[in-house]
């Protein structure tokens, strides 16, 4: 399968993740959409590694995964903290940074 198909798939997954970020109000589901976007990027990287014939893309994707994991840890800890003080997991509640 030629790599452009994989890249197109990556684009579709990325956009679906973006839709999730924009449309969902639950903080955790939003976070999961961000994870989806990161996965789409990883797919593109692995495809590129195949295209160019070296493993640099895979190493890049590996690092991306590690960082995503760290990010999930800290992000979820923050969500839990917010949930404890507000009793609500909706991101629309944090709307004080406005005019």
């Amino acid at each position: 399968m030629n790599p452009s198909a994989y890249l197109a798939l990556a684009a579709v997954l990325f956009c679906l993740g973006a839709t999730g970020v924009l449309l969902r109000r639950n903080a955790i589901v939003m976070f999961m959409s961000v994870e989806l976007m990161l996965n789409a990027a990883n797919l593109a990287l692995v495809t590129a590694s195949r295209m160019h014939g070296n493993l640099d893309g895979q190493v890049f994707a590996f690092f991306s995964m590690v960082v995503a994991a760290a990010e999930v840890v800290v992000g979820l800890a923050i969500i839990v903290q917010i949930f404890r003080s507000r009793r609500s997991a909706s991101i629309d509640d944090a709307s004080l940074l406005k005019f």
């Binding site: 399968m1 030629n2 452009s4 198909a5 994989y6 890249l7 197109a8 798939l9 684009a11 579709v12 997954l13 990325f14 956009c15 679906l16 993740g17 973006a18 839709t19 999730g20 924009l22 449309l23 109000r25 639950n26 955790i28 589901v29 999961m32 959409s33 994870e35 989806l36 996965n39 990883n42 797919l43 692995v46 590694s49 195949r50 295209m51 160019h52 014939g53 493993l55 640099d56 895979q58 190493v59 994707a61 590996f62 690092f63 995964m65 995503a68 994991a69 760290a70 990010e71 999930v72 840890v73 800290v74 979820l76 800890a77 923050i78 969500i79 839990v80 903290q81 949930f83 997991a89």
Partner: protein
């Protein structure tokens, strides 16, 4: 190859749709796990075996589990309402994302048309065999050329763990009761002075939400975990007890007078 691609692609897109449009958050997590597994298959199909396994182990295994844990803490029943509070946001988002998709796909296909590696990707056969395998190849790069990034990433991980611990930490309101205190509490209370019965003595059922019955037939509240007590989902076991007892009596009528005594 092609069949694998198409199946996995379709499934992952389905999973993505499912994740985005599920009402319940736990369903979203499960759909996402589906997507991730399919992506792992796609990695393996592109000769990135190490990465495929890491995707399953780390992402699907660890990260998604973490998500599920937090969902449980936050409230597994929580679901978003369908009403959009920001005016025009839904339409604008769909439009923007569609535009982005069209743009990226167009750019990619335009750019890839002329590239030779599109029709004939180099492939990882040689790269994988150079070091004697995909893992060895990645290891060579990871601890060779990218060792500095590796070290920095490990520092990042440590920091993330520390951050999580700090954020999730809750201070104790009361001091932890010490051993002397616990003994005193137990001995001063007549109900527990002689020691509580071992688990299973009065149990009627091994489900956690079914309370044990005391000898006089009343429900032993201590046998239920506190959370279930509060939620009031205790399973009333006396009906089953009646059925079982009737069956026992039918088998052996001589036990009837033991009940009345």
């Amino acid at each position: 190859m092609t069949a694998v691609f198409w199946i996995c692609a379709l499934l992952s897109v389905a999973g993505a749709f499912g994740m985005v449009f599920s009402r319940k958050a736990v369903h979203s997590a499960l759909w996402l796990a589906l997507t991730m597994v399919n992506l792992a298959v796609l990695y393996v199909s592109q000769q990135a075996e190490f990465l495929g396994i890491v995707q399953v182990v780390v992402y699907t295994g660890a990260v998604m589990m973490l998500f599920l844990f937090v969902l449980m803490i936050v409230g597994v029943d929580s679901s978003d309402s369908l009403v959009e509070t920001i005016r025009g946001h839904r339409g604008a988002s769909i439009a923007a994302v569609s535009a982005l998709l069209v743009l990226v796909v167009t750019m990619v296909s335009q750019g890839m048309q002329t590239m030779a590696i599109n029709r004939d990707p180099v492939g990882l056969a040689r790269a994988n065999s150079d070091e004697g395998g995909n893992v060895q190849g990645i290891a060579k790069l990871l601890f060779g050329r990218y060792v500095f990034a590796f070290e920095v990433t490990s520092a990042l991980l440590i920091t993330a763990v520390l951050g999580a611990m700090v954020l999730a930490h809750r201070d104790r309101i009361r001091a932890l009761p010490g051993q002397e205190e616990l003994s005193r509490q137990r001995l001063m209370n007549p109900a527990t002075a002689a020691g509580l019965p071992a688990p299973g003595v009065y149990a009627r059922h091994n489900a956690v939400d079914t309370p044990a019955l005391l000898p006089d037939g009343s429900v032993a509240e201590n046998s239920l975990p506190g959370a279930l007590q509060l939620r009031g989902v205790a399973h009333d076991v006396r009906e089953e007890v009646a059925v079982t007892r009737a069956a026992e009596l039918a088998a052996d009528p001589t036990q009837a007078q033991e009940d009345e005594s």
